[in-house]
């Protein structure tokens, strides 16, 4: 009897632990000034990641001043009242750390990864950024040049580099998603220093930020340090501008040709998606994996291996807060007419819409998703980012522990249904990317 109990207990422990392994434990609190703080303790490695997510992206910009949010991602490394110009990166590196940042249509995210005894430094650096960053003429001019180079390197000089901006501008008629985070150089050139300072005052405020600390920390000591450096930062005075614009449903296809510095034509299709926290997001994500995830996926097998009409095909759901786009692109194989490739892509979409997917493929899909979700939380840096997004985008930090449940609710029928509902051939954007040499001279 005792033996059985022990065994039962053991079994219980085992099954519990295999369930618990995926659970991310965390603590959170909010300061009086509105700053939301999330902590996750993991003492296995003496490192700590400190990140701040500012809930500002290109969609919060004035349509006459696009590119501001991304520009700030650069400007915010210029220094602060107490940190000399250009020293931000140097300070972190000389204490053994690394750092980075990115900007999307919805958010701007900064993080430092340091040895755990440098947590106070990281909090100090981030609080300096939030309290009194340098937003002055010199910094603006320096970073304008850097952003120009970035623009050249990543968009203008990069084959197919303009796919995102060119697609967005057609996929949205009214919503500010119609411009990409890189924005307009003219807008940045025209902006006055007062406008930059106002943007900082409006969006770089504690009530628009989420501070996440993950790694080798002590919860109480960390909370104390956070309070020390962030409590004095005043709350923003103005209401934070969040666009409340519903993009009208497209009823006709938008079709265009872009001439780029490329040799091989590409076909791009874009379909509007529901808001990121909509239940159909999971089925759509699985649909994209079914279509192009891995060498045995439907389109890769059919179009790249068998028919050899495409060098590569990819379906990427760009999930955004107010509803993103499902972008599909195919780069044609030598000598293949883009029209020909497009026809085949459409046939396969229609095949999923009409016939759905097999049980075998559905099981494989679930295994692939599970592997991806499990691996998504393998580093403290990844966990911090997932925690912050869970809170800001999904409204609940514990969402990080529920992702798998949402995916497991998706049925085979759901995948067919979302293919029908969202991949509407009549309400999409189709772009052909053709070599510049193919551009008619008269144009």
């Amino acid at each position: 009897m005792k033996k059985t109990t022990l065994l039962g207990l053991l079994m219980g422990v085992i099954s519990l632990s295999s369930f618990a392994q995926n659970k991310i434990d965390f603590r959170e609190f909010t300061l009086d000034n509105g700053l939301h703080v999330i902590m996750h303790q993991d003492n296995t490695t003496p490192i700590v990641v400190t990140s701040v997510l500012y809930h500002v992206g290109s969609k919060n910009e004035n349509p006459e001043r696009t590119g501001f949010a991304h520009f700030f991602e650069h400007l915010m490394f210029e220094g602060s009242v107490n940190i000399d110009r250009g020293q931000y990166m140097n300070i972190i590196q000389s204490r053994g750390g690394t750092l980075n940042a990115y900007t999307s249509n919805d958010i701007t995210y900064y993080y430092e990864l340091l040895p755990s005894n440098e947590l106070e430094l990281a909090l100090y650096m981030e609080s300096e950024r939030m309290l009194h960053s340098k937003v002055d003429q010199t910094g603006v001019e320096t970073q304008r040049e850097v952003v120009k180079e970035e623009r050249r390197q990543r968009y203008e000089n990069q084959p197919y580099g303009t796919i995102l901006p060119e697609t967005l501008v057609r996929a949205y008629a009214e919503h500010p998603y119609r411009w990409a985070p890189i924005g307009s150089m003219d807008h940045l050139n025209a902006a006055t220093i007062e406008e930059f300072q106002q943007f900082y005052k409006d969006f770089y405020v504690p009530n628009n930020a989420t501070l996440t600390i993950a790694g080798d920390i002590d919860y109480a000591a960390t909370e104390a340090m956070v309070r020390k450096y962030f409590s004095e930062i005043p709350m923003g005075k103005r209401e934070i501008y969040r666009p409340n614009i519903t993009e009208p449903k497209k009823t006709a296809e938008i079709r265009d040709v872009i001439y780029d510095n490329i040799q091989i034509p590409a076909v791009i299709q874009a379909y509007n998606l529901p808001p990121r926290n909509h239940p159909d997001t999971y089925a759509l994500s699985m649909l994209s994996t079914y279509l192009t995830g891995g060498s045995s996926s439907l389109m890769t097998k059919e179009l790249v291996d068998k028919q050899q009409k495409a060098l590569v095909v990819a379906a990427i759901p760009l999930e955004l807060e107010d509803g993103g786009i499902f972008i599909m692109y195919g780069i044609t194989n030598m000598g293949v007419d883009p029209k020909d490739l497009e026809t085949e892509v459409d046939k396969l979409i229609q095949q999923v819409q009409e016939q759905g997917i097999s049980d075998l493929e559905f099981t494989k899909l679930k295994n692939q998703m599970e592997n991806a979700i499990v691996s998504g939380n393998s580093t403290v840096a990844g966990i911090a980012e997932n925690l912050a997004e869970a809170k800001v985008i999904y409204g609940d930090t514990n969402y990080i522990n529920q992702v798998m449940d949402y995916y497991s609710k998706v049925t085979k029928a759901d995948i067919q249904r979302v293919a029908k509902e969202y991949l509407d051939l009549k309400g999409r954007v189709v772009l052909y990317y053709l070599p510049k040499s193919a551009k008619p001279a008269t144009e």
């Binding site: 003496p46 053994g96 947590l119 100090y124 295994n367």
Partner: protein, 681 residues
């Protein structure tokens, strides 16, 4: 408990402290350095000699198995490249599963499985562990080495080799290996078309049978698995693996150059030079200078705050990045400092490299630099520990390099104990500034003479073999080269007698047929060219009535003046026969090595400024290459007689825009037939 109390006190203290202003004027000091606990791997050995390391990490329900073979490097000689095929061949099918079945079964569980000549790697979620182990064992014990898989791999490898001959980075690393270690060393021998074609399925089988033995193998298990479970599964899957005698090899230590020299590969289309200032070094993990050389390198060129980066990029703007490395290897490694720089500043950049290396050895490093390097390396060491695989690597290194058991446990202590004097002594011991080889891949005509100031300039070809010493005869002229060419074709009269030509060619592009058709009409200055795939015209060029047009995918573009000038120059089947009449100027730019054939390089320039660059073989006089930096190079071969004139029947086009050389063969050639405007259009 104690920890809790401290936190509580701390909270209280800080809360009280809040009343006072936070002093933001100075950076918070570092806390007490955290104790870096490096988990030890658990080990056990099977009776067949297989050594197993287990790093149990239950953070995620995943597990990985890495099998590593510890054998001496192999000199492959006339089969160089063979070991590169072993892994893919093992994954190419087993007695139980075809390659497609293997792929499908691995994908189905979301796992991965790969192999090389000295390793086998498999990983999956914990719950699919049995399946991935079953697949791993199948690949380990039952590979069938299908001939068609080898044929496919050889084809890919030859395509890769062809591409690499025009890739300056690839040329540079091949050259460095050859000059550092010599062709008769495993690290210096070079794969060629010939050695790849020599490889047989039997060679690979023999390799597999000789070296895949448990007594030279380590198995690292990382993830959700205890030692007890590991013992069970390892016995189950690897217990019956039979041991065997494995041959050992040793090689003489490569020596450094007696004095500084330059090894140059002339790549005339280059706009940048790839520079590598390098010398061999004896350096193994665990050596006296191993850790101090990490610090030394960090200061010289380890990152974006290093001396090389600050000097060559930030200060001079010669390059997008300049870095250095000091390798570590059981046999031999290299010290190397590299950058890709604009052609014009090649010699200036080499000068700065030499200055920085010399300065480092002679004047040493500063305390500030050392402190920063220590912080950077400690930080990255700490971050690396987040990956559980790091601990397995440590255990593996301790075994392979016979390191003290606490080598990694005390690594940071050791790292932080080095003084400026220690680093300076390491620099003096390891680096000999006057014995570097400076390898350079770039435009020889622009840089060769300027590089002579750094030492003897020895030329190599794009495969790392010494370039043939080529020098055009002193009395050779461009006019003479063209005359020889026309004579070789059959004489100027016969060539001039060809007024019109229609030529069709076919090429195979990834399984699709591409056709190219040319129409030449030199009397009426008409020219047409059409490229089509499977009957669909993709691109057309036409010159009629002094006007040029290009049609790409149905869109017509009128040529501008510049394009027209270049197109006109290209519109003659034999531009060599009309240069006098058209007022073109000729320049002979020496004798060059064209894929092993010495050839005269002649530049034909039109008054408009448009240029043709052609190469004529020294022995046969025939034109063998047409060079065009914008659109790619064309190689002519298989000359055959048509109407008394020799014409090339195979045109091989190499261009950065196409993934592999395009071999077009002439299918029809009609000379002196009537040509209409319709033919041209």
């Amino acid at each position: 408990m104690k920890k809790l109390a401290i936190s509580f006190v701390l909270t209280l203290f800080v809360a009280l402290g809040l009343m006072a202003q936070v002093d933001r004027s100075k950076l918070p000091a570092s806390g007490p350095a955290p104790e870096i606990k490096i988990k030890e791997a658990e080990t056990f050995t099977l009776p067949n000699g297989l050594k197993v390391f287990v790093v149990n990490n239950t953070k995620l329900p995943r597990v990985s198995f890495t099998l590593v073979l510890e054998r001496d490097p192999i000199l492959e000689k006339d089969k160089a490249g063979m070991t590169g095929f072993v892994g893919e061949m093992m994954r190419g099918g087993t007695t139980n599963r075809s390659k497609d079945q293997l792929d499908q079964e691995i994908d189905f569980i979301g796992g991965s499985l790969s192999a090389s000549s000295t390793s086998l790697f498999a990983s999956s979620l914990k719950k699919h562990q049995s399946k991935i182990l079953e697949l791993m064992a199948d690949v380990l014990y039952n590979p069938t080495f299908p001939q068609e898989e080898l044929d496919k791999l050889k084809k890919q490898s030859l395509t890769g080799l062809a591409q690499s001959k025009d890739n300056p980075q690839a040329i540079s690393s091949r050259l460095a290996a050859a000059v550092l270690y010599g062709k008769n060393h495993p690290y210096g021998e070079i794969e060629t078309e010939e050695t790849i074609n020599n490889i047989t399925v039997e060679d690979i089988k023999k390799y597999y049978q000789t070296y895949f033995k448990p007594n030279i193998a380590y198995l690292a298990i990382v993830g959700d698995m205890t030692k007890a479970e590991a013992e069970k599964v390892v016995n189950q899957y690897f217990g019956k693996w039979k041991k065997g005698e494995v041959p050992k090899f040793s090689y003489p230590m490569p020596t450094r150059a007696a004095k500084r020299a330059v090894a140059l590969v002339d790549r005339s289309s280059s706009v940048q030079s790839v520079i590598n200032v390098t010398q061999p070094v004896e350096m193994k993990i665990g050596d006296q200078d191993y850790i101090s050389s990490r610090l030394l390198n960090q200061i010289l060129g380890g990152g974006s705050a290093s001396r090389l980066f600050m000097n060559l990029r930030e200060d001079k703007g010669y390059t997008y990045g300049a870095y250095s490395s000091i390798g570590a290897d059981k046999l031999v490694a290299s010290i190397s400092a590299t950058a890709s720089v604009r052609t014009e500043v090649t010699d200036s950049a080499v000068y700065e490299f030499i200055y920085e290396i010399k300065n480092l050895v002679e004047n040493g490093v500063t305390q500030e630099e050392l402190d920063k390097a220590k912080a950077e390396l400690s930080g990255s060491f700490g971050r690396s520990l987040e990956q559980p695989g790091t601990v397995a690597n440590f255990a593996l290194n301790i075994e392979r390099y016979k390191l003290p058991k606490d080598y990694y446990a005390t690594y940071l202590q050791k790292l932080n104990s080095y003084t400026v004097e220690d680093i300076n002594a390491t620099a003096k011991r390891l680096i000999e500034p006057d014995k570097f080889i400076i390898t350079t891949v770039g435009n020889g005509a622009e840089i060769k003479e300027k590089l002579a100031q750094f030492g003897e300039v020895i030329e190599f070809d794009n495969m790392g073999f010494p370039a043939k010493q080529l020098e055009a005869e002193a009395d050779m002229t461009a006019e003479q080269v063209l005359e020889n060419y026309l004579n070789a074709l059959g004489g100027k009269d016969k060539v001039s007698a060809i007024k019109t030509a229609k030529i069709s060619m076919d090429a195979n592009v990834m399984g699709n047929k591409m056709s190219i058709a040319f129409v030449y009409d030199s009397e009426n200055d008409r020219y047409g060219q059409k490229t089509s795939f499977g009957g669909n015209v993709m691109q057309k060029t036409a010159l009629i009535d002094g006007k040029g047009s290009i049609v790409v995918q149905g869109q017509t573009i009128e040529m501008n003046e510049e394009q027209l000038a270049e197109a006109k120059l290209n519109s003659y089947l034999f531009p060599e026969a009309v240069y006098e009449k058209n007022g073109y100027t000729l320049t002979l730019d020496g004798l060059k090595d064209v894929e092993g054939t010495p050839a005269y390089k002649v530049i034909i320039a039109a008054p408009s400024g448009a240029k043709l660059i052609n190469y004529y073989a020294q022995d046969s006089g025939l034109k063998i290459k047409y060079e065009n930096p914008a659109s790619g190079d064309t190689y002519y071969s298989d000359y055959q007689q048509k109407d008394g004139v020799l014409l090339p029947m195979t045109w091989t086009i190499k261009s950065p825009m196409i993934p592999m050389p395009l071999e077009a063969k002439v299918t029809t050639m009609e000379l002196n037939v009537p040509v209409s405007d319709e033919d041209v259009k």
